[in-house]
Amino acid sequence: MTANTAKDAATDAAADAAAGVPPAAPRGRIARVLDSDILYSFLRSKVTILSAIVTLVFFAGAAFAPWIAPHNPFDLATISILDARLPPLGMEYSDPRFILGTDDQGRDVFSGILYGARISLAVGFLSVFFAAIVGVMLGLIAGYVGGKVDAVIMRIAEVQLTFPAILIALLVDGVARALFGNLDRERFAFWILVFSIALSFWVQFARTVRGSTLVERNKEYVQAARLIGIPRFLIMIRHVLPNVIGPVLVIATINLGLAIITEATLSFLGVGIPPTQPSLGTLVRIGNDFLFSGEWWIAMFPGFALAVLVLAVNLLGDWLRDALNPKLR
């Protein structure tokens, strides 16, 4: 982010100079942010502000779930089967303790959503984080080293692009089951999920970074660095990386929404997070069984929470893409 704002400020200054505006006096970091295009375009778009608020509410709700949630759905001592299948407030037989009703085991749906969002967001963030690290590294190496290394990395990326993320994740899960057995798999389910989603998302990062690395590597500062004998590895990390990292943030935001959907889908299909530690997708899976008996709230509330979260993240991603790179619009 800092690299970006700095770059934007630099281009601003260049534009000012070109327009004949005298260069502004050196400004502090905060003043620069307050004056930036990014903040301006953020404040101009009501949808973006709204989605940022929604996203923040979800983050806060997920992060502080143990303190905010009225009940702890994992604490067997506090849940009672007598509270099972209570409808949400406003319907007949509802209980004021459970504003969004309860599921088949008497767990509070609202608390379940808070704890579920925690797991969904954790899987989403971690998998995008790992995908970005692997993708940026491989893209950097492919673009900078070139030759056979480039060809091999990009061929792998192409073959992988042939398969949708969900299929790769399912295959990884199947292999994990075969290798670990079902019991161990449940214990590692979280990390298997992170791994399989990261595995299917790195390609986009790698391709983008490779593209901009190809441009950067021929620039004068890289040639100068090479000339004074800085090792290849250091040039890549210290000089090229800061200049190609910009778009990564945009891709990461857009992929966060996708990763959350992928996680939810896998959990819904029953190959993701086990029901003992339900994510939003697992909650919908549990609720799906009760749709026909009229207990719609068990599936619908977590489902809508998921949809709103993903929509907000996607809108933020769209905005970020437009704000950082107006050409892409």
Partner: protein
């Protein structure tokens, strides 16, 4: 054209070989195939005999070669969970998946293209904004949740349409079709909307952005200057030129439709390949997993190949370029 086709064909074969290698590795090294076939009371000698008979002691390259030859004939051995040949199991379920995919692809095209044209031509109308908002929501809603919403609305609440299964099917040779019976058609509605919605929004956005680009070009201005009717400009001149990327994306999406069918088939308990694959993942039924992987890869590769060749049919400029080379 010929050189290009041959090069693409070679690439396609390479991709298939890589996928075959992955399938083979799955098949051979993930879990011991012998362990899956025999009972607990089998003696080590019997196991060794079986191992020898199956050719599992041969050099790896020989085994891989044999795997490819068998895969080319669609022989993937016997399913661990059903004790039936994998090819029979998949063959029985293939029609259900293909029918569902085809119908949802047609739905996506028939609804997506006109919506895209409209939103491209009338950028700022209220209806366009509505379409775009719907498309954004369509992209953000996970497929399985769309399915659940549709089931809740049309099956549980209104009770208009069935929520699971294929309805009655008619057998034509080995192919079973639900397209010829009323209950079969009814059963198709919700699953194909669920499966096609994402593709529909994708196509709509694509056609829209292409239209926006095309109507700015000189030949459209010229057509307008010639006094052609607006309808004829829009559809004969503009739409035609937006179709190349639409064909590409649609082609690529057909593959992902088949893959996403896994989700839709689970929600609607649709008896297709996707459901079979999901069961095989849950039960570690490696032969089915390997076969499904190969089949999907094959479909992808064939579709990509067809799409690449279709360019030449659709876009005469490409033909001229290639001829000049």
């Amino acid at each position: 054209m010929l050189a290009f086709s041959i090069r693409r064909l070679l690439q396609a074969i390479l991709v298939m070989l890589v996928v075959a290698l992955i399938s083979f590795t799955l098949f051979r090294f993930v879990g011991d195939p012998v362990n899956q076939m025999v009972g607990v009371e089998t003696t080590p000698e019997q196991r060794e005999a079986l191992r020898e008979r199956l050719g599992l002691n041969d050099p790896i390259m020989t085994q891989f070669g044999r795997f490819i030859v068998k895969a080319a004939q669609f022989d993937f051995g016997t399913s661990y969970q059903f004790r039936q040949p994998v090819s029979d199991l998949i063959g029985k379920r293939l029609p259900a998946t293909l029918e569902l995919s085809l119908v949802s692809a047609i739905f996506a095209l028939l609804v997506g293209i006109p919506m895209g044209v409209y939103t491209g031509l009338h950028r700022d109308s209220v209806l366009s904004k509505l379409f775009l908002s719907i498309s954004l929501i369509g992209i953000s809603l996970p497929t399985f949740f769309i399915g659940i919403l549709l089931i809740f609305l049309f099956s549980v609440t209104l009770q208009w349409l069935p929520s699971f299964g294929r309805g009655d099917t008619v057998a034509i040779g080995w192919w079973t079709t639900g397209l010829l019976t009323v209950s079969g058609l009814k059963a198709l509605v919700l699953p194909s909307i669920t499966l096609g919605l994402f593709q529909m929004t994708l196509i709509m956005r694509l056609v829209r952005s292409e239209m926006l680009e095309v109507i700015r070009t000189d030949y459209i201005k010229f057509a307008r200057a010639r006094g052609l009717r607006q309808r004829s400009i829009n559809f004969r001149h503009a739409l035609k030129n937006t179709l190349v990327p639409v064909i590409t994306i649609t082609g690529l999406q057909v593959g992902s439709i088949i893959a996403f069918a896994i989700i839709t088939e689970t929600v609607f308990q649709w008896p297709g390949m996707g459901l079979l694959f999901l069961q095989s993942v849950q039960n570690v039924d490696i032969p089915i997993m390997a076969a499904y992987l190969m089949l999907i890869a094959f479909l992808f590769v064939v579709i990509n190949l067809i799409v690449d060749l279709l360019y030449f049919v659709v876009d005469p400029r490409l033909r001229a370029d290639r001829a000049a080379l």
